[in-house]
């Protein structure tokens, strides 16, 4: 262990490489290879992140939209409105009452006022309080002390507003005079403004303005101008006056705007059908105007112009707050979304007919594709001789599977136009039957491919055994092969139907989106298939095109959630079937 041994020792052999140890070069090559691996991982991560963002974007917006703020109001069927002559109310008279002025302004607005009063809410007082509070705040922030005391001691907000306005005008006149050349006039105007402020009760502000008048005399107009502008009295007075004028300005329409009264038609029909309701009351939940949703959920604070729900003012918001505190406004699950018909208005829009329409179309697809798809696959797989025709059919199926779905829509539109020319008119436009047929033609290749795979999976020994004991070819297929292939066929069919469920473009072209007035369908056996229908994807499309951003980003996503859940349920069913019945030969 001396230094000598180091210098004297022979050098170790240079390339004593173990097989288990990588040389530098090999290491470099492996490192280069790792890059490919990491790129692959990164690609998959990116795609999964995208999937996550997609689902998050749908669920975070769609789930809250399934809850709705509703006002529980006592609807009072006022005989005075239903028959303005004061006599007995008949069904004809009710039908004659205008929906807008009679039911919306009359029944709904009056009922709403009654409900609030019964809950102990002083409507006018609440509105006035909100505006007076606003005015006080403005005065305080403008440095006009003593504001709340002045407002409280005033007899009427309107008179006070006038007084404030005069003071503001005096200040404006002073400001104008300061911009001019004449110091005497400016001092005069400032003195007048100071007096006006004192008259309105703002002693401190009056003194301030008087001191500015002194400045104007001593240091010149410019300095006084700057000092006056710095106070901000003028703007504060005008704003406070504006707010005070609103305090007396409550109208029935302000209250009515809070709720959405478009189900007035339903209400009218209800009274027509049950005249006993006249003069009576019934409690019911009415949706709140959709613009208020963001305020109620706390997304908009309601302070300042930018935070105000569009179309509302602080008086109405005060009423909303009072209603919420009194328990009139509540947040409920929106069951009506699943039963209502589609509407432009997000407060009452629903997907009832769309769910039915989609179900009917899936029924058509199921019958049609099981019948024709399975029959075609059986022929091609079990019977068809290998000839030109069979090849041609195979090529056709392969190509149809890759034809863009919109081309099938074009086919549907052409069928529609042709049948229209044949005397069917417009009666077949937008029906569940036409939609189902177009979707079936589109899904047929998918189902044929799946069914053929299932038939192929049945081992030939089964066929040989059946033929061997004397079954005919048809008997072999229908009695032995088909039952064994059934789970596979069913799985393929369900997956094909799931695909058809989300298909939108072909349905748009055959008029399922213009039938926006479509109602709930009757049973498929009594002609429901031949009625104007809607479907889930087309309603999603309509909701996504709504001009109201709340609907576009909320309800459209809720409808997507419903559609995706249906899709996942179908796929889950297919997977379960496969797990349960799958046989390995």
């Amino acid at each position: 262990m001396t230094d000598a041994s180091i210098s004297g020792a022979p050098k170790p052999p240079a390339a004593q490489v173990s097989l288990f140890q990588r040389s530098q070069q090999v290491q470099r090559r492996h490192q280069k290879g790792a890059a490919l691996r990491y790129l692959g991982m990164a690609a998959i991560t990116l795609v999964l992140v995208f999937l996550g963002v997609l689902l998050w974007s749908i669920f975070s917006r769609g789930l809250p939209a399934l809850w709705q703020y509703q006002a529980e109001i006592e609807i009072y069927y006022d005989p005075a409105i239903l028959n303005s002559d004061g006599g007995e109310v008949t069904a004809e008279e009710i039908e004659g009452v205008s929906l807008r002025s009679g039911f919306e302004q009359g029944i709904f607005a009056v009922s709403l006022e009654r409900t609030l009063e019964n809950a102990g809410i002083d409507i006018e007082g609440t509105v006035a309080g909100a505006w007076i509070g606003q005015a006080t705040g403005i005065l305080d922030s403008a440095g006009l002390e003593n504001g709340s005391a002045i407002i409280q001691s005033a007899d009427s907000p309107t008179d006070l507003a006038q007084e404030f306005g005069q003071a503001g005008n005096a200040l404006r006149a002073a400001n104008t005079a300061l911009d001019g050349e004449d110091p005497a006039a400016a001092v005069e105007a400032l003195t007048a403004a100071s007096e006006a402020l004192a008259a309105a009760g703002f002693e401190a502000a009056a003194a301030e303005v008087a001191s500015i008048a002194a400045t104007a005399e001593g240091e010149g107009l410019e300095a006084a101008d700057t000092a006056l502008s710095a106070t901000g009295y003028q703007q504060g007075l005008f704003d406070a006056a504006t707010a005070l004028r609103q305090a007396d300005g409550y109208e029935q329409g302000d209250l009515l705007a809070i709720i959405y009264a478009a189900n007035r038609r339903d209400v009218r029909d209800r009274v027509v059908n049950n005249l006993d309701l006249v003069g009576d009351t019934s409690r019911e939940g009415v949706p709140i105007s959709i613009a208020l949703t963001r305020y109620l959920s706390g997304e908009l604070s309601g302070v300042g112009q930018a935070q105000m729900p569009p179309g509302f003012d602080i008086g109405q918001l005060a009423l909303v707050d009072a209603m919420r505190d009194a328990g009139i406004i509540d947040r409920n699950f929106r069951w009506s979304f699943f039963t209502n018909t589609y509407s432009q208005n997000g407060a009452v829009a629903g997907i009832g007919p769309a769910l039915m329409g989609s179900a009917y179309m899936m029924l058509v697809v199921l019958v049609f594709s099981l019948l024709f798809g399975v029959a075609a696959s059986i022929y091609l797989e079990e019977f068809a001789p290998k000839n030109k025709l069979t090849d041609f059919i195979e090529i056709n199926i392969a190509n149809l599977a890759a034809v863009p779905s919109i081309v099938f829509g074009i086919l549907g539109a052409a069928i529609l136009f042709t049948l229209g020319g044949l005397g069917f008119g417009n009666s077949i436009r937008g029906t569940a039957l036409l939609g189902g047929i177009v979707l079936s033609l589109m899904t047929l290749p998918t189902i044929v491919i799946a069914t053929r795979a299932a038939l192929k999976a049945v081992p030939p020994s089964i066929r040989d055994a059946a033929l061997g004991v004397g079954a005919s070819k048809v008997q072999t297929v229908f009695h032995h092969v088909l039952p064994l292939a059934a789970p596979g066929i069913l799985t393929g069919t369900i997956i094909g139907i799931a695909q058809a469920l989300g298909e939108t473009a072909p349905l748009l072209l055959i008029g399922l989106s213009v039938s926006t007035g479509a109602g709930l369908l009757s049973s498929p056996f009594t002609g429901g298939l031949l009625e104007q229908a809607q479907s889930m994807p087309t309603v999603v499309f309509l909701l996504a095109q709504n001009e109201d951003a709340t609907v576009r980003e909320g309800l459209a996503q809720s409808a997507i959630i419903v559609m995706l859940l249906l899709l996942f349920a179908l796929n889950f069913l297919a997977i379960m079937l496969r797990r349960r019945f799958e046989r390995r030969w």
């Binding site: 690609a43 999937l51 190509n399 779905s405 081309v407 005397g423 005919s472 695909q499 213009v514």
Partner: protein, 522 residues
Amino acid sequence: MTALLTLPSVLVIVLVLAAVGFFLGRRRALAASGGTPSTLHSLPRQHGWHVALATAVPALILIVFWSFLAGLVSNIYIDAIIPDDQPELRLPLEQRAGLTEREIEIRVQGRRDLFISNVQALAGAIDRYVANGNATEEEVQRWRADLAPLQQRLQRDGQIVSTAVTQGSLNRALELRRFNAIVAVTGPLAALAMAVIGFAVSLLVISRDFRARISVERWTRGFLVFASTMAILTTIAILSAITLPSLTFFREYGLFDFLTGLTWAPAGDVTGVPAGRNGEYQSELGFLPLIWGTLYIAFVALLVAVPLGLLAAIYLSEFATKGVRAWVKPALEILAGVPTIVYGIFALVTIGPFLQAIVGTTIMPNTVSVMTAGVVMGMMLVPFVSSLSDDVINAVPQAMRDGSLGLGATPAETVTQVVLPAALPGIVGAIVLAASRAIGETMIVVLAAGALSNVTGIEPNPFGAVVTVTTRIVAVLTGEGSGFDSIDVLAVFALAFTLFFITLGLNLLAQRMVAKYREQYE
């Protein structure tokens, strides 16, 4: 009696007859065997089926055809009985002023179509009027147009008669009704007769040696063959649906103008150019802006989908552990199973605003743009590309990998220098298929590329809105328009025509590539 002779009731009668036939046939076969069923050629059940099929099938086929033909025949009839000198068709002299022969012809044809639809509407209204029990057939036959305001009477019953009833239209409507009544009865009658004949004959032929099974199996095979021709029928239907209107369009607008036009401005849109006669809006239907938008978006989509899809496929098939595969593959399948409209809305409400926030509103004035649609479509295509490439990569024989590894190549070198070159034709095929899907994709583009924008020309900015082939098809055909009545609608069929052949070409190319590739290793 005539009430029974409608198609639905005949349908029920036929089905009941077939069911009865099944039991009668079985009974008769058993009787024919003389107590020993084993002496029959076919099982009694098969005899029963034979009777049922012979009863129902020809009648059902006839009913299906008749329900379509009746309308057609009635249309031909009404067109035939209206003479060219029908007074209602004459074009007033003052309207003829300054028009060419061709324009007069078009207007006269328009009046004729209108007259025909009026007559048909009137006939329908009278039908319902009678059905509601307001008049008997004899009374109707004596009707004259001036007879107590006919129109009001029909309208009071809730019938819609929009135009004034003239003596001419009333006469034609009555003629049409007589004809329709005959047609309406003949079809069901014929179907019923066929069912009864089939029923009787098939029952009569039952004997000990009758080969009912062979016969039933022939029916079955016939149905199987028919079902398998559905694919051909669908293709033929699509081809004729898009070809005939397209040819009309090319003839009227000009194929060259269509293919080389730089502006897409249909008169039906707000973007139309008032260049026609008398300041009418005239359509300018150039194909180039549309194909530009379509290919632009498809290009962006492939730029996203191909690298991501390929890398994911390579990782999954060559590097990933079983556990990773078990989780990632279903996730990719979810992505593939999401309907395209969901992607479209996602692009509209999430990706669009996000991109706009990044690049700013000067470059990207709207949230809809080529990039918005392209990126989302690319993400949609990733599972498509990756699963196709995965199949292709897995089809490369293991021996090639083993050989490469045995020679000392690292796994990554094996992938890049052996597996990928071997799989290249298949991968290119997958990319071509993805391109075909990108070109035909509709809902993402409609929602996220600016379907409602006023773009008429070629837009080079990747953050600007564009028009594409599919969005124009949706825009025109989603409205209330029905019938091949305007050049705009015809143009849409020409678009579908080009779209169909572009995608068909790409699909055939891809199939050929994949097939060749597979042959190589089998």
